[in-house]
Amino acid sequence: MSNRHSTDHQEQDRQTSVEEERAINGHATTTPLLALSGITKSFPGTLANDHVDFDVAPGEIHALLGENGAGKSTLVKIIYGILKADAGQIAWKGEPVVIDSPNTARRFGIAMVFQHFSLFDALTVVENIALGMDEPGDMAALEARIEQVSHSYGLPLHPRRHVHSLSVGERQRIEIVRCLLQEPSLLVMDEPTSVLTPQEVEKLFETLRRLSDEGMSILYISHKLDEIRALCHRATILRLGRRVADAVPSEETSRSLAAMMMGEELQGEARPPTATVGEVRLRVSHLSLPAADEFGVDLKDVSFEVRGGEILGIAGVAGNGQNELTDALSGERPSVSPGTIVIDETECGLKGPDARRALGLCCVPEQRLGHGAVPDMSLAENSYLTAHHRMGLTRHGIMRSDARDTFADRVIDSFRVKCNGHQSQASSLSGGNLQKFIVGREISQDPGVVVVSQPTWGVDAGSAAAIQSELIKLAEAGSAVLVISQDLDELMQISNRIAAICAGALSEVIGIEQATVEGMGLMMGGASLEDTHAEA
């Protein structure tokens, strides 16, 4: 951790000098590359952007900071021509312009890397890149250019590979290379690091700094404060669709930025549960499971145990067997022998999800809509689906609607889920609220073991803190909690012990006091514990 702080300081020094340099060059008086004024956009029921003004200077890395639902994505979609603003002006290099489609945006020199990648799984890298260009020219020549650009920026890519076979980090490289090939003057990046390992993030930042030095402007959207402080020259902070503040991130602390972003002080940081650790409640021994399909990952001899009163964190980059592990634990995919998974001394490797729930194992899968909840059903019905057994919501085969609704109301109240009562459709809730509901539904069943995958993915800071503190409370009450997450910072905060999963194999489990961000990052990439010591 100390190592990390010192890089931050170096970073601040570097940025301060950049700022000074800009001030000396009279940077403030140059025409901004992009200037937005009075941008307003409303959707039925919400005002996504409310008279937003800001500008991006040439060569600047500008942050757009805000919680989920603050209107960041709407704003960049307007800049890229995907959405049309209800009111307001956009000026490009000082001239007022109308950006009515992504094609127009690209013609001006605006390129965008999307949060949810706009890639085509069944196509190759070169085909994907050709699709994002207006004049791709000859495919063979394009392949050569991809090789050249991707290597010169340290983003190696094989043009002929199919996208479905690539890791998330590689997929993002495609998006970035696609943008770079167009030699844009403004690169827009929407939450680019949410799927990367710390090492990949560091590499990405190097590339971005180099691009900025070469004169490219970058509009960087994120809610990760450390990243913005490390990378960006200026920040515009949005809250509920309005611009609430401007800041020089290197002069702020994470806490002060968070306060601007949320409009209130963040409560104290989450800490691992401090209860006395009890009996082993979940034991997984030598769990090997071949992938369900060609795009999956085989689980290789995974062994660990979780005791009552503790949180075990499993870190890993997406697509390294997390989903397979969650499915194997929840019972969606039975294991090979009963003894591989033991809940409270009961062997249940061959049992299905209902039987495991009855034994006290509740599970929150990664994907909320469609896996954790049925999108077109109400919250009440969704709570019945997993809680009917433990909460006794069925009598003689008939659903007890009153008990079901009361249970759903209890979850909604105690987890402060924003919705229109238990009759709201699951799909009508925002991602964060639905996640609070699903986590709440499982926790409220008083489970002995909880398996949670990506508890706070895409959830804003306030809801994330609430979910984390509920998990901690649950562990302190004696349950065993397993958290599988890509967010290493989160795991380092709330876990008692931590391990990394890579290509379906689990690393050694270590106490949180032994873990460092760098070491975990290497283990997420497949290095063993000894290797990480050697590197350190």
Partner: protein
């Protein structure tokens, strides 16, 4: 003697396969763009009756084929408007389109039932058409047969060699990504659906002008459904679809010949053979998920709502 039978058998296989090639290749393009049009049967029948009516009233084979294509496109346009314009369910709308096509074609054709037509002219090429065996096999067909041989070639070239084909595949693979990059998803799907309609119409025209040159109510007799199955059978690859059409045509004809030879199996069982073969092959193919995932359009049948 036996050679003659062989040649005759192969000729009938070609005529049985040709309408399937048209209808299935058209549907392949539609599905590659992400639209599932289950109304192939209906579009074939409208094409068949329109084509026949055109030769009946005007007696021009070229016009008849064009009219059949136009009729297929018009039927497809109704479908496209409902599912792309109004976001109706593709499955329900496609089924309705089939029922609609059967009824409409019966209504339009009621005065033409039983009238015979000479059939599309065979393209006679001096000398080569007179060659023994090869002549009748290769050089004595109507223009539609040759067109059906060129079609998979053209479609494969379009899909895998041209930029427009790449965009079409992209739209079928992820409409959200295609939209985000700036491609007109709905317009591309309209065009793909219309192409599918035109090809189904042409398949219908082949039935009523060449295969059995007359109009009989419901004369496509389930070929539209076979064409749909062939697209999956061929895992959305033009040449495999083509191969599937010939395989299916072959089995259809062989069972007819087997019946003629008096093989002691109930004729009902023999008639089932092509369908059983289709089901067996479909089952075998779905056992290989990789192949399906690489070629199947991921967005098939999903309605596209432009990001709000």
């Amino acid at each position: 003697m036996s050679l003659e039978i062989l040649v005759a058998t192969i000729l009938t296989i070609i005529t049985a396969a040709t309408p399937l090639v048209f209808a299935a290749t058209g549907e392949l393009i539609t599905e590659k763009a992400g639209v599932l049009n289950l109304g192939v049967e209906g579009m074939m029948l409208t094409g068949a009756v329109t084509g026949f009516a055109t030769v009946f009233f005007i007696d021009n084979a070229v016009l008849a084929c064009l009219a059949a294509m136009a009729a297929g496109m018009l039927t497809a346009l109704i479908f496209a408007f409902l599912v792309l314009g109004l976001q109706a369910s593709q499955v329900a709308t496609g089924l309705a389109l089939t029922i609609f096509g059967i009824g409409l074609s019966a209504l339009l054709g009621q005065n033409m039932v039983g009238i015979a037509y000479a059939g599309l002219p065979k393209l006679y090429i001096p000398f080569v058409s007179d060659l023994p065996v090869l002549g009748p096999l290769l050089f004595n067909h109507d223009a539609l047969v040759y067109l059906s041989l060129a079609l998979p070639l053209a479609v494969a070239w379009f899909l895998y060699r041209t930029r427009a084909g790449l965009i079409l595949r992209a739209v079928g693979d992820s409409h959200d990504a295609a939209h985000a990059i700036g491609y007109p998803v709905i317009a591309i799907r309209y065009m793909a659906t219309l192409f599918g309609g035109a090809m189904a119409g042409l398949a219908g025209a082949y039935l009523s002008l060449s295969y059995s040159p007359m109009w009989v109510e419901n004369m496509s007799a389930g070929r539209g459904w076979i064409a749909l199955a062939l697209v999956v059978f061929g895992t959305w690859r033009p040449w495999r679809v083509f191969l599937g059409a010939y395989l299916f045509g072959g089995i259809t004809i062989l069972q007819l010949h087997a019946q003629a030879f008096g093989i002691a199996v109930a004729s009902q069982f023999m008639s089932m053979l092509p369908y059983i073969a289709t089901i067996v092959v479909l089952v075998l193919i779905s056992r290989d998920p990789t192949r399906i995932r690489l070629n199947a359009p991921a967005c098939i049948g999903k309605p596209f709502h432009p990001a709000a």
